[in-house]
């Protein structure tokens, strides 16, 4: 699994963001080794769509989001946003693109400057880019803060006076104030309680409708990703495993890794007793020395010798469902565990 390929990309013209063969590597000290964080990942997003990216920690989902923002610029591949190739831009040209792409981070409290007032935090983007005059900026700040549900009476306060959920609302206001088309949300609800999580997920849907946004939604919680996404990409160790519509992916996963992730979700229903057999064993291998061929093969219950020699390419197995696996699950087939050694490090 975890393969390359571009079969899942759609027409060149209609996508707002198109990422081809993205490559991100980090050197490890002076050892000459490198962390293969993201290797040959391609995807595209249509305008108004939400792409969900899921995977375990270390699968490269956050790095992918940051590489799209050119933070830092990727080692290889192309990122085309709204007709402009970001990967070819430098310095002031790249900076001029920044207000059009925004980001929301996991920890809402540490991503806001504790020493500034909320209205100044939200206003900063407008000030930097000299958008409108003073009065229209003030009006805009109040409008977006009102849209995210922050009482205008509290805009003189500082972040520590707000709860985690409210700080995440302020982060969302800060992101939409410069009228971006694309927002990359990196685990925006992972640090929040379930009740607040529901509020923020609903708010993101509202903001998407109100400001015509396109979202990249990165998270490790599969249920959360399903709730917001129009298309979901499953990643493992820097590679794409499967790309599909959420309803297809969750009811009929084709990649063994997608199936294993779904099987591991705890279900809030005491009738469903967790079955110890249905758990994916082992841990994610080191990204410094990823396995040959399919990167998932060391943990895959369906691995065959071919998986070690040949890297699978993404191919369409059902309409709109693309999978990088030599032996994908057939429709109706369930993943059976217990093949390979359960622990391999």
């Amino acid at each position: 699994m975890a393969g390359s390929g571009t079969a899942h990309l759609r027409g060149d013209g209609d996508s707002l963001l198109r990422v081809e063969h993205l490559l991100v590597e980090f050197p490890v000290g002076r050892s000459g080794l490198k962390v293969n964080a993201v290797t040959d990942v391609s995807f595209d997003i249509l305008e108004g769509e939400t792409l969900g990216i899921v995977g375990e920690s270390g699968c490269g989902k956050s790095t992918t989001g940051r590489a799209v923002m050119q933070l830092p610029p990727p080692k290889g591949g192309r990122v085309v946003y709204d007709g402009v190739e970001l990967t070819s831009l430098k310095g002031e040209d790249l900076r001029a693109m920044r207000p059009r792409l925004q980001m929301i981070f996991q920890d809402p409290i540490s991503s806001l400057n504790p020493r500034r007032k909320v209205k100044d935090i939200v206003r900063e983007g407008l000030d930097i880019w000299n958008i409108g005059d003073k009065d229209s900026r003030d009006a805009k700040v109040l409008e977006v803060l009102e849209a995210v549900g922050i009482d205008p009476a509290n805009v003189e306060r500082r972040p520590h006076e707000f709860s985690g959920g409210q700080c995440q609302r302020i982060s969302i206001a800060r992101a939409v104030v410069t009228d971006p088309k694309l927002i990359i949300c990196d685990e925006p609800v992972s640090a929040l309680d379930v009740s607040v999580q529901a509020q923020i997920l609903n708010l993101l849907e509202d903001m998407k409708a109100r400001y015509g946004l396109t979202l990249v939604f990165i998270a490790h919680d599969l249920a959360v990703v399903k709730n917001v996404s129009d298309r979901v990409m499953v990643m493992y160790l820097g590679k794409v495993c499967e790309v599909a519509g959420p309803d297809t992916l969750y009811s009929q996963p084709a990649h063994p890794y997608s199936a294993a992730l779904l099987a591991a979700i705890p279900v809030p229903d005491p009738g469903t007793r967790p079955d110890a057999q249905q758990v994916l064993g082992g841990e994610i291998p080191s990204p410094m020395e990823p396995p040959s061929g399919c990167r998932f093969r060391t943990r895959c219950p369906r691995a065959q010798p071919q998986c070690g020699q040949e890297e699978p390419e993404l191919r369409e197995v059902a309409p709109g469902q693309y999978v990088a696996c030599h032996f994908p699950l057939e429709p109706g087939e369930a993943l059976t565990f217990g093949g390979p050694p359960s622990v391999s490090i």
Partner: protein, 360 residues
């Protein structure tokens, strides 16, 4: 392949007495803003070998409850009242010195973040054998063997090698296994697991929860599993206590809680979780507002300001814990979910909302 690696727990209580009996436990903190009622009158019992799930939002007092039972809170600025009987002993009166015979040996704890709960400059082996050497009368060699068996029983590969390593050399899931091994070293009768899998990935979470269940069966150990995720406790706990504003607002055997929940808060909590079986873009139910301020909690029901069933009576009278129709079920609500009174209250509020909404 798992071997019992520790001495059996000696019980001083009769077999009929529950392992843990908490009665009207109150834990208040003195702060410059006033007295924070973090735990405000919690009672429950837990039998040997059983699991109690404690569920609630941040700030509901679930972590303070576990630390208060174990006596881990600083004495200064903390007011602790009520009774905690563990294995036949009243432990609220004991000094920290006396508690050392309990900590690690007979009750232990696993924390949320496995990195910060292990000592980064001490080898894994030392961290595991420390409590064995403290509580069990064994020599160093035997303690090391026990440590190796423990690591094997929590399914850490190459245990003899791992004993000589430091926490940073292990992954998050492996570190949490080490924490479990440390907690189990002396064969405690009671284990507190405070959000043990919140920092872990979903596949690793399933591995760690399965491991805890296996160890529980082998050792006949009671577990208090604290979490904000109802999905985690649903399949694992025998009984669930839902906490809100420092109190238990509903407590029931797991199957009863899910099939016959009475407390609007439990219902709201469960319905705010995105469900895998729902189509994408399903609008989520939310709980409006925030948990109450624990310095000056509202009069009446603490959940009333956020409740969809709220009636004038809820704002004035604090509901006591009332027994449900099924054994072991208790809840605090005047207008419970699934009863005629509850349905009537909800219908009245919906009608009022439609009127005010239409006027505005």
């Amino acid at each position: 392949m798992t071997q019992p690696a520790s001495a059996p727990t000696v019980s001083t209580a009769g077999p009929s007495e529950p392992l843990l009996q908490v009665e009207d436990l109150r834990t208040h903190f003195e702060t410059p803003r006033g007295i924070v009622r973090a735990v405000d009158g919690v009672s429950f019992t837990l039998a040997r070998g059983k699991t109690l799930g404690v569920v609630g939002e941040s700030g509901s007092g679930k972590t303070v409850l576990s630390r208060s039972i174990m006596g881990l809170l600083p004495k200064r600025g903390t007011i602790r009242e009520g009774s905690v009987r563990f294995d036949g002993t009243e432990i609220t009166e004991l000094s920290p010195k006396e508690m050392r015979d309990f900590w690690g040996a007979r009750m232990s704890m696993i924390f949320q973040d496995p990195m910060t709960s292990l000592n980064p400059v001490m080898k894994i082996g030392k961290q595991i054998t420390e409590s064995i050497r403290q509580h069990l009368d064994v020599d160093k060699k035997y303690a090391n063997e026990l440590g190796e068996n423990l690591l094997r029983s929590v399914r850490i590969p190459e245990p003899e090698q791992r004993l000589k390593e430091y926490p940073h050399q292990l992954s998050g899931g492996m570190r949490q296994r080490v924490c479990i091994a440390v907690a189990l070293a002396c064969g405690p009768a009671l284990l507190f697991a405070d959000e043990p899998t919140t920092a872990l990935d979903v596949t690793v979470q399933a591995q760690v929860l399965d491991l805890m269940a296996t160890q529980q069966r082998e050792r006949f150990m009671a577990i208090v599993l604290i979490t904000h995720d109802l999905g985690v406790v649903a399949g694992r706990a025998d009984e669930i206590a839902v906490m809100y504003a420092g109190r238990i607002v509903e407590k029931a055997p797991t199957s009863v809680l899910f099939s016959d929940m009475k407390m609007p808060y439990t219902e709201a909590l469960l319905s705010s979780i995105p469900k895998i079986e729902h189509p994408s873009h399903t609008r989520l139910n939310t709980i409006p507002g925030r948990p109450p301020n624990l310095v000056t909690p509202p009069q009446g029901c603490k959940f009333a300001p956020r409740c969809t069933y709220v009636q004038p009576r809820c704002l004035e009278e604090d509901p006591p814990l009332m027994p449900g129709t099924q054994p072991g079920h208790e809840y605090r609500c005047w207008f419970p979910v699934g009863t005629p009174e509850g349905a009537e209250a909800l219908a009245r509020n919906r009608a009022d909302q439609a009127v005010t909404g239409g006027a505005a």
